[in-house]
Amino acid sequence: MTFTVTPIFGSEFQESASRFAKDAEIESSGLLNADQKRQHRDQKWKEMIALGWSACLIPEADGGLDGSLLDFCALLEGTATHALPLPLSSGMGLPAILLAPLRFKDKSSLLSSMADGSIRPQLIYQPLDPFLKQMSHEMTLNIIQTAEKCVLQGKVAGVERVPEATHLLLCCQNQDGDPTLWLIPNNEISPTVSHEIRIDSRDSLSLTFNAQKLQNDWCIASGSALEASFARMFNYGALLSSVEAVASMGAALEQTIRYLSEREQFGVTLSSFQVLRHYLADVYAKYDSIRAFVSALTRKVSDSGEIQNRELSLLKLYLSQVGPKLAHTVIQVHGGMGMTEELWATRLNKRLLMTNLEFGDGQFHAERAYITTKAD
């Protein structure tokens, strides 16, 4: 019997999420044009809300399911095995993670609305500290905040789109450099919006704000507590992205090994060629190691509630070594098939390559680990 993935966060959540993503993949395979596909994705997002996934990380007291980080990772792992092109992490996980440590008026009501899906926040952020800002090339957001008026100006590009978002959950600095967090009703503003598709087939947005007036009471948090919470959310984002990456790697390996075991050339299966066997053994060895690293770090974070920058950066750095290597090997050993859109492994590969760039690529995390090494 050929290799089958053992899930890191194996549970009913993981299994049902995997089934959901597989069904979504089958349904979308018959859709030809981009509009149909986007409508289908929006429909699946509604179903995810109905399944309670948006409530997973929200406390029971605020109308949520009070799920653990590991529960949410189980959902992520399940959906990632079929490269579900929807923003589970940035749409249903990170907003709750960002808001959790903050205190502000009507917080419970907001969380409750996020849990039942009546508020669907579109997370947009401008990295706050100078080091994180290195990653932003297309981010020029600027908020002028005075007692009399608030004005948002500038552009943000490459935002992972949340289907039918009701609000922007915007985090950026004001004119004094103070971090601010805004919950902005979408129907109250009119940015110029352009829609794009990311390399992993997820929807993305570019938004341009031209002297957009904001109401002062839309600002829900600011100051050092927000700065700390944002830094924490960024790290969680990197960790959750790594969970998805490893799930994609496992599924891609599984599919590729099966393909090589079935496909015949020169009268024998491709899996009988030692060079191909060794390629796969090589990347399997890397996969096994990164899987153990992700599993251990996630459980550690779940137990302690804290993420050490250096540990996380070493994980992302290693992921940047092994993720693309696995993706490229999968394409190579599939031959021409590896270049086709319809191949399951190709979609997994694209998601894998995207995760390598999310929340800091290898170079970013190497530099961050370097700085902490020096500080030690």
């Binding site: 390996l253 899996s271 066997r277 060794h278 096994d288 190691s289 290693y318």
Partner: protein, 396 residues
């Protein structure tokens, strides 16, 4: 993790106890050998074994009834880690980890009484007579032959790559006692004193300049029948048992972390001038990449130990650990070589015995660079490990 076991043993206290002893009781000259990555020879190594034996820690992997500690796999792993973290040598493997467990499992009572105590106290040293000129990875093709004459075997043949033969007392040796069956059958495991009449040891000079390995020629060597371990013809089974006991060796990543730390220190020592900053940073980033992989290997090792503790099957982890850690060690030594640079590369010691008047520390980095190449060859080469992984993931 098995919560019953965890509840019964305080691993932090256990770690602290090991640390308290080894950090103070390991002689400074022995620690210095480890800290400088020198080659460790029998005298300091057996001296260290005697100290551990006196403390009751002579055999972490043996059962209590044979003088071992009876520690579980997690405790054994912690012990290995703490030794490395304190620049203390690991215990000599051929006796304690290789032939000792085979004797305990398959040896006769008289063999156990004769051979186990000197392994424990470090007074007797073993080497492994496995590989032959035409039987390396394909070990079952071995040709060294033993025929029975009266109450002795008469052994003829040649072993090669026999590490430590020059400083050993005994060699556990796979020999062919029958040619009439499939090649894995008809092999027996004999105990042969290295100084027996008919044995000639010839050193093999390796690329690191050190003397590790030898050719061992056996010319009508007489071995009592009573020194055959287990049943005649079942040697392959015992050899496999031995290898299975070694499967989690690479789970101990502490020596690699130590080597990484030394390499980082070396960068700081060698590149302190402002004009060297770019080169320094480039090397430091390469080392960070190595550290990232090492952290991943460390977690895989811990996962494998947990699996053993919980009696779950471990199939691929040993090969993956061996494959990844061997390559990583080489990568770190490559960084070390570049730190030393061309001027030191021009000062390689002629051989182990030569009086070297250059920079001895630099020479050790060069020698370790060359020595590291064997990591992907011995104990099942990279190619063998990949074959094993492929067989498992492809199901054939």
């Amino acid at each position: 993790m098995n919560t019953d076991v965890k509840a019964a043993i305080d691993y932090d206290a256990f770690r602290a106890e090991i640390h308290a002893f080894v950090s103070t009781q390991c002689p400074p000259d022995i620690k210095q050998i480890m800290a400088l990555n020198r080659k460790l020879s029998r005298e300091p190594w057996s001296r260290w074994q005697k100290i551990l034996f006196a403390r009751g820690w002579g055999a972490p992997n043996w059962p209590v009834e044979y003088g071992g500690t009876g520690w579980n796999p997690r405790q054994q792993a912690i012990f290995g880690e703490v030794l490395a973290e304190n620049d203390c040598p690991p215990q000599y493997h051929h006796g304690l980890r290789h032939i000792g467990p085979v004797l305990i499992e398959f040896g006769s009572e008289s063999q156990k009484a004769r051979y186990l105590p000197p392994i424990l106290d470090g007074s007797e040293w073993w080497c492994q007579g496995y590989s032959e000129p035409n039987a390396g990875s394909d070990l079952a093709s071995l040709k060294t032959h033993a025929r029975i004459e009266g109450d002795v075997f008469i052994v003829n043949g040649q072993k090669t790559w026999t590490s430590h033969a020059q400083e050993s007392d005994l060699m556990y040796t796979l020999v062919r006692t029958s040619d009439e069956t499939r090649k894995q059958e008809g092999i027996s495991l004999l105990i042969i004193p290295v100084r027996s009449t008919g044995i000639t040891i010839r050193p093999i000079r390796t690329i690191d300049g050190w003397h590790h390995v030898n050719e061992v020629f056996l010319d009508n060597v007489e071995v009592p029948l009573s020194d055959c371990i287990g049943e005649i013809g079942d040697g392959w089974k015992y050899g496999k048992f031995l290898l299975a006991r070694e499967r989690l060796n690479s789970a101990n990543t502490a020596p690699l972390f130590q080597y990484l730390k030394r390499t980082r220190t070396l960068i700081n020592e060698r590149f302190s001038k402002p004009e060297q900053l770019q080169r320094k940073q480039a090397l430091e980033f390469r080392l960070l990449n190595a550290e990232a992989e090492l952290r991943a290997i460390q977690e895989l090792g811990l996962e494998a130990i947990d699996a053993v503790m919980n009696k779950k099957p471990i199939r691929l982890q040993p090969s993956v650990l061996k494959l990844n850690s061997a390559g990583l060690f080489q990568a770190i030594t490559e960084i070390g070589m570049e730190i030393m640079g061309p001027e030191y590369a021009a000062s390689m010691p002629a051989d182990e015995q030569s009086v070297f008047d250059g920079n001895a520390q630099a020479a050790l980095w060069l020698q370790n660079y060359f020595y590291s190449r064997v990591r992907t060859i011995y104990g099942g080469s990279n190619e063998v490990q990949k074959n094993m992984i492929a067989r498992e993931i492809f199901g054939h």
